[in-house]
Every structure is written in C-alpha cells, then in structure tokens.
C-alpha cells in the first residue's frame, strides 16, 4: 500500500511540475486516490460560491432555476449570472451529488481493528451506503424532482457517470482491493442497489428510515444469495465440464 501511494505521489509530482493552464486545473479529474495530496476542489471558486448559496434554498424552492437565482443573489451575483451554469438546474443537482460523494470519506470513520478482528468489507459497504443515503435527507422531499431531471436524455450519461463514481468511492473507502473482473461486477451491482434504494427512500415515511435500511439489507442479502448461487453454479459447471471431458478421453476420444 505505501508503495502505491508513493507511486501515485510521484505521478502527481511530475504532472504538477508540467506547465498547466490556470483553468483546467479545476476540470482535471483525478482518476485515482492520493494519500499525500489534497484533491483540488471540484468546482471553481465563483461557481462554488453561487452553488453553495443556491443549495441552501433547495429545501424551500427545490432543484429549480429559482433556487439558483436566489443563490446567485446571495453570493453577490446577478440573476443573469446563472448563465455561468450551462446545464442550469442539473449543475445544482450535480453539486449535491459531487459534494456528498466527496464528504463520505470524512463523515464515515471506521474504528481501528480491535483485537485483531477488522470490520468486514461488506459491513463497511453497508454503512457507507447508508451514510450516503442519509445525506439526501435534507433535500429528500425534493429528490424526485432531481431524479426526474437526471433522467432527461441529455443528463443520463453524466448522472450514470456520477453513480459509477459513487460506487467506486464506496468500494474504495471500504478497503476493497480486487484486481480482477469482480472489480466491475462489484461496482455495477452496488450501483443498481444504491439507485433502487434511493428511489425507495423518496417514498419512505417510516421513522428514521428504518424501512429504507431494511430495504437496503434485503438487496445486499439478495446480492449475496445470487453471488453465492453464481459461484456454486460456476463450480458445478467447471466440475461437470472437466468430468465430461475426462470421461470422453477415457473412452479414447482425442480431445
């Protein structure tokens, strides 16, 4: 692990050294996690200022252009300044998605391994996913609007991208180090579970979202069941295949 960190820091070091233009520094997306360097803020300063003030208006005005305009005014800008956001309302939703995703690593802390027994990756994934879902709580009564905007054809690709980034963040923070095809299947399945639970949560009226928690547990349970079944099926197919070939060989077939 330290070796990878050192490697990534040298990579960063060289890229920092190369002359970079002022603006794209913000647009640059780090494709890996660095332990040594703080990540650059996800949005440029002026945008951050307007979006964070606009975000405060979301519980009342929803994810709308009105919230953006009010935010711009609070930040000392004009109504017209909302032209800074080419995607309009979606940029406000994206702000919520990105900031809440990045907040995960500070909001969820796992205790150090006690008496040699560490918390399992599965448990970590569960608590991280729940923490991310709870971050939707302040805007939950407006979240269906946001989902509707995200489902517009133009915004589906960036929304899916953000979902993938979230799944990746959760697996990374849970300490997953898989380097085979399960890297993909883990992220894909977590994405589907997360989005299903998120939609369920918008309809949840139970106290402290116990039903959402139950729903999430059931989905994760399903995954384990299906995953276990697939594993066993694979084993069976493998064994039966080999046996068949061996039987045929023993009968003198040239395979």
């Amino acid at each position: 692990m330290p070796a990878t960190a050192r490697l990534s820091s040298t990579i960063i070091g060289t890229s920092r050294a190369s002359p970079s233009r002022s603006l794209p520094a913000f647009r640059q997306r780090c494709a890996y996690h660095s332990y040594d360097y703080a990540q650059p803020p996800p949005f440029p300063p002026a945008e951050t200022k307007i979006l964070s003030s606009a975000y405060a208006h979301v519980p009342e005005h929803g994810f709308t252009i009105d919230a953006l305009k009010l935010g711009a005014r609070d930040a000392g800008y004009l109504d017209a300044s909302t032209n800074l956001f080419p995607r309009g309302v979606f940029d406000l939703i994206n702000y919520h998605l990105v900031t809440q995703r990045l907040a995960l690593k500070d909001s969820v802390q796992f205790p150090e391994a006690k008496d040699g027994k560490e918390i399992g990756v599965g448990r970590k994934v569960r608590s991280l996913t729940l923490a991310r879902l709870r971050a939707n709580e302040p805007v939950l009564h407006r979240w269906q609007e946001a989902l509707a905007v995200m489902a517009q054809p133009t915004y589906i690709p960036p929304s899916l991208h953000e979902l993938a980034a979230l799944a990746d963040e959760i697996w990374f923070l849970a300490g997953d180090q898989s380097v085979d095809t399960s890297w993909y299947t883990k992220r894909a399945t977590l994405s589907t579970v997360y989005s299903a639970t998120e939609v369920f949560m918008t309809q949840d009226t139970s106290k402290n979202f116990v039903e959402t928690e139950q729903f999430l547990d059931n989905r994760l349970q399903d995954l384990q069941t299906v995953g276990g079944f697939m594993g066993k099926l694979g084993e069976w197919v493998n064994y039966t295949g080999h046996s068949t070939i061996n039987v045929l060989r023993s009968k003198g077939m040239r395979i």
């Binding site: 440029p44 930040a75 109504d79 300044s81 032209n83 995607r87």
Partner: protein, 317 residues
Amino acid sequence: MQATRIRIGRQLLDARTSVGRQSVRGFAASAPRGVKEPPPPPQKDAQDGTTHFGFETVAEALKEQRVRGVFSSVASSYDSMNDFMSLGIHRLWKDHFVRNLNPGRNPLTSPSSPDAQKGWNILDIAGGTGDIAFRMLDHASHINHDAHTNVTVADINPDMLAEGKKRSLQTPYARSPRLRFVEANAEKLDMIPDNSIDLYTVAFGIRNFTHKDVALKEAYRVLKPGGVFACLEFSKVENPLFNAVYQQWSFNAIPYIGQLVAGDRASYQYLVESIARFPSQEEFSGMIRDAGFLIPGKGYENLTDGIAAIHKGVKPA
C-alpha cells in the same frame, strides 16, 4: 478593372501560400476547388496599423469605414438575405440564444426586495435591425412576465439603426422606454456608465470589429459584477466532411445569392471572408477569458456543428 486586378493579385498570393504549405498539408486538409485559402495573418498586426478586411489587408482606420459601407449597402435586404443564406436557420439560432439567456426577472417567483432593481438592463451591440432586441423583450414579457427589462440597441451604422427603428414600429415596444437606439462604436461606449449592464449581447457583429480585444475590455467595463457577456457568432465547423460542403456553400453560393437578391456581390464576398477569418471557438473563448471574464463550462456552445457558436463570459463579482 480595379476589381479584376485585386482578384488576380489575390490569386497570386493564394498560389504562393499554397506552394509554401504544400509539404505539410495532408489529404484531408486540401482545400476544395473554388474555395480560397485565407492568406496567413500578417505578422506584425498591431505595429504597422493594419488589420484584415475579409482576406484583404487594410489600414485600421479604413476597416471601420469599409464595414460601414458593407452594412449600409445590405441594410434594406438584410433579413431576406439572412434567410436565403442560412436557409432560415439563423432564426432558430437567435431564438435559442435568447431562450438560453432567459432574460427578465419574474416578479412571481423572485421575492421583491424594495432596493432590488426591476428587470434587466440589456445592451445589444451591433443589433441595428433589432433582431435580438425584440426577441429579448418578447421573452422577458411573455415568459418571465417582466414589464421592466429594457434593451439598448447600439450600432455603428445609422442605416442599420434606421432599419431597426422602422421595424420596431410593428412591435409593442416602439416609443416605450424599454427600447432605445444609440449610434455607438463598441470599442468606445462613452454614453454607457461603468457597472450598469446586466447582459451584453452581440449577435453576428463581433467579427466586424477592428479591435476585438478593446471591445471585450469595454464590455467588461460596462457590465455589472456578475453581468453576462454573450456572443452569437459564426465559427468553425468541426466535422471535416460537413466543413467541405459548408465551404463550398459559403464561398460559391452565398456571394452569388448576394448578387441575385441584393445586387451586391462584394459585400457578401466580404461576409464569407470575414467568417473564415474569425478565430476558432477555443481561441475566441480564450480571448474572452483574457479580458477577465469567467468562462462557463468549456466556454462555448456549437450550433449546427459549429457554423455558429454561442460564447459566454461572466464578470466576476
């Protein structure tokens, strides 16, 4: 006679430049027949006081005059020519441009504080015929229910302004305080105070300016902090295949249409040459950034694969 001499001279110049570039030019980059390659930009542009007028190089003092000449001669047939040249698409571009800017302050959804100013102050540069101005006012009134947003139409050319005034009589805004026409050079807007404008627009005008950087600085001066600079202008087509078709259209068809419809080939020859001369999307959004503006997203939005592009900048607060 004069014209033929100029044309021969230009062809000689073209031949020389194309010989010089032959070694590095790839197959895809070869110019289609009948399309003139723009000559390389003059090296010392600022020092010797020349600029380009289409593909010609003229003294800076002369450009303003000649641009004025071009637009005086096309003012009366401006609209029908635009329709012929762009097959009517320029209306869609302008509608999209205005809808996207969403001018006007909706009194129903925005809580009114007593000190807050009602409506936007819009400055439409090079908007002589009022194309953009009327759309802005319509959008503010009908979409945002805003009866206070006002537009100042500025143009360097009195003939274009006269055309706009004439057309404004058919709109509800004639003789209302919401619409005002001034004759002004975009590089020197002395009648507009500092920090007074919410939205500065220039549609199909900025490529005719002698000093684009000076005009951008002036836009920065008149805009309020947080104010928006928005520019709709011809740009570079990104798909090479479509570009080949587009170049044929603009260099062969448009001057010909100009000759047929407006009886003025030279002005439309200038038009297509000035489009070819205008900087690419990235270069121009770089110029906007250099003037001090914040660039939203990548800074521009292509229309019809880049035949036109919308550039925006926001003055930092």
